[in-house]
């Protein structure tokens, strides 16, 4: 048998039907659902008189629209449209009988944090969601990617997706990371290297010592942004770190079944000599704490750098860079550490897990955020929030001057009341710095949690290594 990549193995294990032209029906093990991209899909089922084929494999949770302030059960905290959307999910989840974590449930949170936390996401699975950051679940060695609403409806009705196989890409991060460098810096550095279109048509497998050394939280951060590099999905082969994380979670296999599952999971790795269509290698020790300066996640530079000149680029990127620099209100040649910020957002499916908050607490413990700074920490789930409170992190945040919020997507995409105003500039641990992403004419610099914490203290983009 010819050697296979991890992606080949998961793919092969899920093909329910293959047509002569290679178009496949890929079976879906877990379907995650949130309120923004599902209403039209459920309505489609209703109009066609169809039901959800596998409600036991379908998990719904509202996250994008939900307010993150206390007393959010009060409907007045949401706009009329948000309320309708959340209520539609509520109705659909109950009517079609899928697993559901309503806003009032302590387990509610961002769909990509809730899935792994509850043990829904397991190695070797196929996982989809009407959300591009479904790539997050690839950290478990699960083939996970975002789909549109028509495909949500297709999966609800048939538990399959019509797919053609992507190509294989290997991203290897060799060696060790230097102090102050995190999973977020790895994933941004990779996009800086490949560009936002560099992964188009590929599924990425991340490997190498620096990836192996990451916790599950860190691996989720890396895979989360595979989509920002254009890849359909990101994958990391499961290992002892993965098994230890999964074991004992509410929906993970129990004793007996766990051992059987483990035996299978241990076969999920890329065989020696398997073919990759594209290979990118970065040295872990070369990666520095990075920030984005522009309005595309590929606009990445080490924090020690300066704002580039549009003429530094080629082709269509010259005009795009000019537009970005203008939108961001920057000057070519300006030092990145001279950029003043007024808002800090820590959270999202990229960096809203407990480890991220521990990193923030380490930086801000016993200190105060800069006067006038608006700094918000939004846990990825109610359980992350509870754990952070138990560990005393929440007290550290409050004492430092942060707003400590309830779980949701919040200012990552600003569909709820958490938004930037025109001209405000934010250091954010989220995943997209697009124009208007965090609010109309708002400006976003993507950073790691530790770098966001440092910026909250100094009021400027800051090299975390100077505070260590």
């Amino acid at each position: 048998m010819s050697p296979k990549t991890l992606y080949d193995k998961i793919w092969d294990a899920h093909v329910a039907h293959e047509a002569d032209d290679g178009t496949c029906l890929l079976y879906i093990d877990r379907h995650l659902v949130h309120e923004v991209t599902s209403a039209q899909a459920f309505e489609g089922l209703r109009m066609a008189g169809r039901k959800v084929r596998a409600p036991e494999k379908t998990i719904a949770v509202p996250d994008h629209n939900v307010p993150t302030t206390e007393g959010r059960d009060d409907p007045a905290q949401m706009t009329e449209e948000s309320r309708i959307q959340v209520q539609a999910l509520d109705t659909n989840a109950r009517e079609f009988g899928v697993h559901y974590y309503p806003v009032s449930d302590v387990r509610q949170g961002i769909v990509h944090i809730v899935g792994p936390e509850q043990g829904w996401t397991l190695p070797g699975m196929t996982v989809v969601c009407g959300d591009s950051h479904t790539a997050t679940h690839g950290a478990f060695g699960a083939l996970a990617h975002g789909i549109g609403t028509s495909e949500v409806e297709h999966v609800l009705a048939t538990q399959t997706l019509i797919q053609k196989k992507s190509k294989n890409m290997k991203v290897e991060i060799t060696g060790k990371l230097k102090p102050g460098v995190t999973a977020k810096d790895i994933t941004l550095a990779v996009i800086g290297e490949t560009g936002t279109g560099g992964g188009t048509g590929y599924v990425i497998e991340y490997c190498g010592e620096a990836i192996r050394d990451l916790s599950m939280e860190g691996r989720m951060t890396v895979c989360n942004m595979a989509i920002e590099g254009g890849a359909r999905a990101g994958l990391i082969a499961p290992d002892e770190t993965t098994y230890a994380y999964v074991k004992g979670r509410p929906h993970a296999p129990k004793a007996g079944a766990f051992e059987q599952a483990l035996e299978y999971w241990k076969t999920l790795f890329t065989d020696e000599g398997a073919h990759f269509d594209k290979v990118v290698t970065l040295k872990g020790e070369d990666i520095q704490p990075v920030v984005t300066w522009g309005t595309s996640p590929e606009d990445v530079l080490p924090i020690t750098g300066v704002v580039p000149h549009p003429e530094d680029f080629e082709g269509g990127k010259v005009e795009a860079a000019r537009r970005s620099i203008d939108y961001m209100g920057l000057t070519p040649g300006q030092k990145l550490t001279d950029i003043e910020i007024d808002t800090v957002f820590i959270g999202s499916c990229t960096n809203g897990r407990i480890e991220d908050f521990r990193a923030v607490a380490e930086v801000v413990k016993g200190k105060k955020i800069k006067d006038g700074m608006r700094a918000m920490i939004v846990p990825g789930s109610g359980l992350v929030r509870a754990q952070a409170e138990e560990e005393g992190l929440a007290d550290i945040f409050r004492e430092a001057g942060f707003e400590w919020r309830l779980a949701g997507c919040s200012m990552c995409l600003a569909m709820n009341p958490d938004q930037l105003s025109e001209g405000e500039r934010c250091a954010a641990t989220s995943n997209r710095n697009f124009e208007g992403r965090q609010g109309y004419k708002g400006r976003t610099h993507l950073v790691s949690p530790a770098m966001a914490a440092a910026a909250a203290l100094t009021g400027k983009l800051t090299d975390i290594r100077e505070l260590m």
């Binding site: 329910a16 209403a39 449209e81 409806e153 299978y264 995409l413």
Partner: protein, 201 residues
């Protein structure tokens, strides 16, 4: 889904690279639970001032491009989120065909599900179409999916590739779910087999 028929239409030039889904339809408009009506807010932040007045420089606000049915765009069109509201908004506005050197994966798939045709061409050919689109409303291009050809206003013919299954679905206006349900026996068989091999799933 409506069948994709050969048509001649106005093409609008949008040479900007990395046009993302947040530009195509900002999130404030994702709160509708309907599939229609998004065209009014297509490219909202690029197209309108905050007071709702039009930004005259934006291509789709120019008299000659207001009825565009084709978009000639820069590289990596549709990157970002999975929101199908992006193709819904383009479709609702009247755009049926988008040409670029590359598309983001999810946007590309979403477009086909809505009877739209995203076409990938090499840079040189996109440049030819971009130049043709710059001529304005008198430069109508013809898109023939059956023959896999775009004909410029000068009569130049550019061939394009398209996945055979997706082409078949577009030409016949086929509903994916209906097609897949015809293969229900395969899905049942897969579930039985996979359920035995991986009972914990």
């Amino acid at each position: 889904m409506e069948k994709f028929e050969t048509f001649s239409g106005i093409a609008a030039p949008m040479p900007l690279v990395n046009i993302d889904t947040d530009m195509i339809i900002p999130k404030v408009f994702l709160k509708s639970i309907a599939r229609t009506g998004f065209g009014a807010n297509l490219f909202d932040e690029m197209r309108f001032n905050r007071d709702g007045t039009e930004i005259p420089e934006f291509v789709l606000n120019k008299a000659q491009y207001r009825k565009s049915q084709i978009l000639i765009a820069g590289d990596n069109f549709g990157c970002g989120s999975s929101r199908e509201h992006a193709p819904w908004a383009l479709d609702d506005f009247g755009i049926k065909v988008i040409v670029s050197t590359s598309f983001a994966d999810i946007f590309f798939n979403n477009s086909f599900k809505n009877g739209m045709l995203p076409i990938v061409l090499p840079q040189e050919q996109v440049d030819v179409l971009m130049a043709d689109a710059e001529k304005g409303e008198n430069a109508r291009m013809t898109v023939d999916l059956e023959a896999q050809e775009i004909t410029t206003s000068d009569g130049d013919v550019i061939k394009f590739e398209v996945d055979a299954f997706k082409k078949h679905c577009l030409l016949n206006g086929l509903d994916d779910i209906g097609l897949t349900m015809e293969k229900e026996a395969s899905i049942d068989a897969f579930e039985a087999k996979a359920g035995a091999a991986r009972p914990w799933v």
